[in-house]
Amino acid sequence: MLYTHKRLLKTLVGVCIVALLSPVLALAQDGITTQKLREQIAAMEKVDKDQSTLEETRDLNRNLLAGKRAELAERLTKEIDGLQKYSQTMESSLSASDKEKIATRISSLRQEREALQRPVTTASAVPTLTVQPKINSNSTATATDSVGNTSPQNVSNHPGANAGASASAQQVFVSTCFPDAPNNLTNTARAAAELFVTNDDASSQLGDLTFYAIIHTVATDAGREDLLKAIEVKQLQEQTRRTDKQIGAGANSEGSTSALEKPSFAEILGLAVEHGAIQQAINGTTLNLSTTPYLFTTLANGDTQSNYKKYGYLTRLGASANFSIQDEDNPLASARRQQLNNWSLRLRLSKDRSTRSDDVEEIWDSVKDDFAQQSVVITRFLRDTFQRDLELETRRRDIGDRLLKMLDEPSSKAIHDDTNLTDNQKISQIAEKIVCRVKTDLVDSIRSGSFKLSQENKDRIISQTLPDFAAANAAKARALRLFDERIEALSLKPIFTLAYNNIKPTIGSNYSELKVLYQKKMFDPISVIANGGVSFYHQENPVLRQKTVRDFSVGLSLEGTAGRSPFMLESKDDSQITYSFTGRYERFFENQYFAGRKADIAVAQFKFEIPMAAGVSFPFSVTYANSSELIKEDKVRANFGFTFDTDKLLKALALSKLP
């Protein structure tokens, strides 16, 4: 009886070994042997490293090499899985020496796999093959950039994109170990890599990586690629920058290139240096500084939304000062009382229509449910898959921990700390490691059965998760479109501002000006700006026949945008070329008493402003006036200058720090 039991046990052990190693055996019989594959890879790597290899040949070789390396990595994964299963199943029957041999073999295979997953490094080779956006998951990748690609490639075909990936920074790459990885997985890997490279938290992307890897694998294996293709997300697009801020000096300032004043003003600090003159008889060079009291609240509290809710009303108030510039090389040195030409106060009468206003938060409340649908589907999937299966959840955590541990390894830290790499190159290399790890730990494990997804889970992914996710993507795109449209509608509402200007002209008496400024966007990209005002002398000079009321004036301007400036080399900066046609009429009362002067002064102006660099633009205007205030003489004058917008300069500084 005992003999029978022992024989039965030996037979069972034998069956187990054959069954557990069957994937390895099957692989070995599938075409070439694993050893042969290793030899082919070594030969291809030799060709890749050979300096005499033609570039075309190298590209072709590199593509084939990537496929071979991926194939070998897959075989190694299956062999590792087989040995692990064998080790677990036979644990009680194995001696310590046998266990050590198996552990050594697994360790050796893992090291070999890690080496395969490491980027190919040759004199001209790069770890990641950065390619043009894929048309479909089966297309062959073509390497287009052999230095890791630092120039951002904006892509629009980002199917199933991770929820908030910013369009301007997306880049598609093909992993060497997972060439057919879906874009949403590689994009999420890049997002995680970016967080690692910038010392942020890569673990925040584990859920998305798990989601995209599982749905892709299950759908592909079920022959339902159609469901994957149905998942598309509208890319977020940068819109035109605001062009309704008054940065330069007002129309009456010496050297101003503006015939009318705009009702909005720089929120933090506007600095304008302009050269030229419009209505004044004297040419001048002016420096204009403007701000709002809100600035001072941000110094203590930061410019948070909480602070804005408390003190945002202060943005209704604006103050600016205009100085004569003596030292053009250092214009800010002229910001002294002696050089003060004029100063002004503004009060915005209309409601806040910025994107931080209560009105815009109300708009957000109306679309946020649709916006959140992607997260609803992803977290529901994670709940349904892992909250009901403790074993699977344990496996998920192990996989996540392994991935995070990989980022702690010296090879990852070396990439992180490599000062010869740009951030973009670091992101590509780390993303490659993440994709490879996801491939082996999730995709391959699902296919080998070691990551046990129940049939119920698989059916739910096909019948519910994928259709829901496609619908969620559409809902999010719809929410963002609606949000943008309603913000646009808000921007069409008029802005009214009351302005007080205190003017100290170089020639003549000081006076104050009270104006109402109006701006309304008619339709994209045309806005109408209107000014109307009256001015008063501080102290009339009877000799000059001055009375309390100096003049009144009205003006009307049509302003538009003509697309992005061709001089903006920084690809993320969307600063626009602006143009305007302006007419202005002024009744200058005292002139009626002097020969050689005109009381009725009319001005027509065409002005355009071209952004030249971040925060710096070049305004140019051609003006016809039937008279100046001092001389009855028709004139056509061209004016030009440079303006500096510190809001934009600060933005540009922040942009330059982005990968």
């Binding site: 990936a165 925040s204 697009q237 938060e361 957000w364 992803i378 949000f483 933005k651």
Partner: protein
């Protein structure tokens, strides 16, 4: 509550978890979802606070959260959202991940593990 990473937390049964998001140079355009359920923001809260959710999963299991943020085109490029998490069972107020306008992804997953 204990913080494992800025996105992974250890929580106790019955503990109430609260998320706050501080927006800088941008409005409160965020959503928070846990296990497929959208969590409502507390009206008028500053910084924006979401209603607490209660830990109900058994030992070894996880509640899955996800935050989505949006940046309008007119938001400055250095605008960001900072996450803060607090558990009713103590541990303090933890600083979570942040979401910058320039980040490749404007979504952050959160795990609340038992």
């Amino acid at each position: 509550m204990q913080q494992i990473t800025r996105s992974i937390y250890l929580v106790d049964a019955g503990e109430q978890v609260t998320l706050e998001i501080e927006a800088t140079k941008v409005g409160n355009f965020t959503t928070f979802v846990v296990d497929g359920q959208q969590i409502a923001a507390v009206p008028g809260s500053n910084p924006q606070q979401f209603q607490p959710f209660t830990v109900t999963v058994g030992p070894g299991l996880t509640h899955f959260g996800r935050v989505d943020a949006h940046f309008p085109a007119t938001a400055p490029d250095d605008a960001d959202y900072q996450l803060f998490l607090t558990g009713s069972a103590g541990g303090g107020r933890f600083t979570g991940s942040d979401i910058k306008k320039g980040n490749l992804s404007h979504s952050r997953g959160l795990e609340f593990r038992r």
